[in-house]
């Protein structure tokens, strides 16, 4: 257990240091949300209607771009070899790395989302529902994403390939996340229906992701 705990602390510490890019995800999130009204025009009514969708897309892209540093940085300086051959099961190691990644990338996004929702004129109820769906959905994004990150670990310029691999897998999370956020304020669906499915998707990814990721790492590190 203490091997996994020290791995978690190491990942958290590396992420917040120079070159770690922990808060870069929030900055990218803010930039994308700034760009969207500049492209769509300043009509606040329109922005309020599609606000949850914009925020979910921006959160998805921000999580995606940060996946690069999940395994590749460790692979390049050789520490991934040591981690893989360590005492703990590789599935748990991958799960812990995914947890550290979510804590440093996903959690800041969730904290920033209600504030950034002000830019899209979201009212309090929509913003609260959206934040709740992001809270449940971003771990799913991380754990699905780490499958692609493990597959692409040996590629140095694998950034776009990673996106192409991961995005189709994250489509269900995106669909149910936006559906839940919209259902909370409008529409015939009750909030619970898409929200429960979103919870199920995240829980499933938290199991499938580490197993698939570990298998991919074993393949790549041969």
């Amino acid at each position: 257990m203490s091997a996994l705990a020290s791995l978690l602390m190491r990942d958290l510490r590396v992420a917040v240091r120079v070159g770690g890019g922990a808060l870069m995800g929030v900055l990218f999130f803010l930039v994308v949300v700034t760009l969207t009204p500049l492209a769509l025009g300043p009509d606040l009514a329109l922005l309020r209607r599609i606000g949850p969708a914009i925020l979910w897309l921006a959160a998805l892209l921000a999580s995606l771009l940060a996946l690069d540093r999940l395994f590749t940085a460790d692979y390049e300086d050789g520490s991934l070899d040591l981690i893989v051959t360590g005492p703990a099961p590789l599935e748990l190691v991958v799960a812990v790395k995914g947890l550290a990644h979510w804590l440093t990338t996903g959690l800041p996004l969730i904290v920033a989302a209600p504030l950034i929702g002000l830019f899209l004129d979201l009212d309090a109820a929509t913003a609260a529902a959206l934040t709740l769906t992001l809270l449940v959905g971003t771990p799913g994004l991380t754990f699905i994403g780490l499958i692609g990150a493990a597959i692409a670990v040996t590629l140095r310029r694998g950034g776009l390939l990673l996106a192409v691999l991961v995005l189709p897998l994250t489509v269900p999370v995106l669909i149910f996340g936006v559906a839940a956020a919209n259902a909370a304020v409008s529409g015939p669906l009750p909030f619970g229906t898409p929200f429960t499915v979103l919870c199920a998707l995240t829980l499933a990814s938290m199991v499938i992701g580490p197993f698939a990721g570990a298998a991919a790492l074993r393949q790549e590190m041969e």
């Binding site: 890019g21 870069m24 900055l27 700034t34 606040l44 922005l47 004129d121």
Partner: protein, 242 residues
């Protein structure tokens, strides 16, 4: 002691250690005077007491832009004249300018809610100030991503010079576009359009915030010089062990 002597980091450290308490004291006095002025200033005939948010909002905007201007001068110092303290000044000014810009955005947002009915609107002035805030965050991220301080300095200097184009856009955005934000009332051709009873507290608060900026800037530059010395010592220690 000529001004050029401050280019020596050790001389600057000595100056900074002596000067910061004086600047801090002057800042406290200026804020005391400024807050007294603000409290005794008259209410606006339309906005009532809400107009007093202006005494935080406008200095925040001015100092946010001043911060980037300081960084631009420092960028010239780094790229053109190779001044040794230029990149220290640039790195120190970035979080200060970002904080003032954020104060401007938040106070403006809180002011807009009762006055315009909305926390935010995508008009030219607000968007360009938000872009300035994003540029600040980008420069701060750039400083923290490159390990070697002098390489980081050159990269940040180029980004600062490119970003300086936002400053005239912010200033003239209310003239060039049809904006919800009010047009220039102080720095404009012709006299200021604010009544002196409200203008004077504004100028006093702006002066107080500027003194705060100078105090924090000198202290931050001292911290940055010391931080670099610690880093050099750590590198020497690490290479001595092997």
């Amino acid at each position: 002691m000529a001004l050029i002597d401050f280019a020596n980091p050790s001389q600057f450290l000595k100056f900074a250690t002596r000067a910061v308490p004086w600047f801090a004291g002057a800042t406290v006095l200026a804020f005391a005077f400024g807050l007294h002025q603000v409290v005794s200033a008259p209410d606006d005939y339309q906005q009532g007491a809400t107009v007093k948010i202006m005494y935080l909002h406008v200095p925040g905007a001015w100092l946010g832009m001043l911060g980037w201007a300081v960084m631009t001068l420092a960028a010239f110092g780094t790229l053109v004249w190779r001044h040794p303290l230029a990149d220290v000044a640039a790195k120190a000014a970035a979080p200060l300018g970002a904080a003032f810009t954020l104060m401007c955005l938040i106070t403006g947002s809180l002011w807009g809610r009762p006055m315009w009915g909305t926390y935010w609107v995508w008009d030219a002035r607000l968007t360009s100030v938000l872009i300035l805030f994003l540029l600040y965050l980008g420069v701060m991220a750039l400083w923290r991503t490159i390990d070697d301080p002098s390489r980081a300095a050159r990269a940040a200097a180029i980004l600062t010079l490119v970003g300086a184009v936002d400053l005239p856009i912010i200033k003239f955005s209310v003239d060039w576009w049809n904006t919800l934000h009010q047009p220039a009332s102080v720095l404009r051709l012709g006299a200021p359009t604010i009544h002196p009873a409200i203008l004077l507290p504004l100028l006093v608060m702006a002066g107080a915030f500027t003194l705060l900026f100078v105090t924090l800037q000198i202290a931050a530059m001292r911290n940055e010089i010391l931080r670099r010395r610690v880093r050099t010592l750590r590198l020497l220690q690490a290479s001595a062990v092997s």
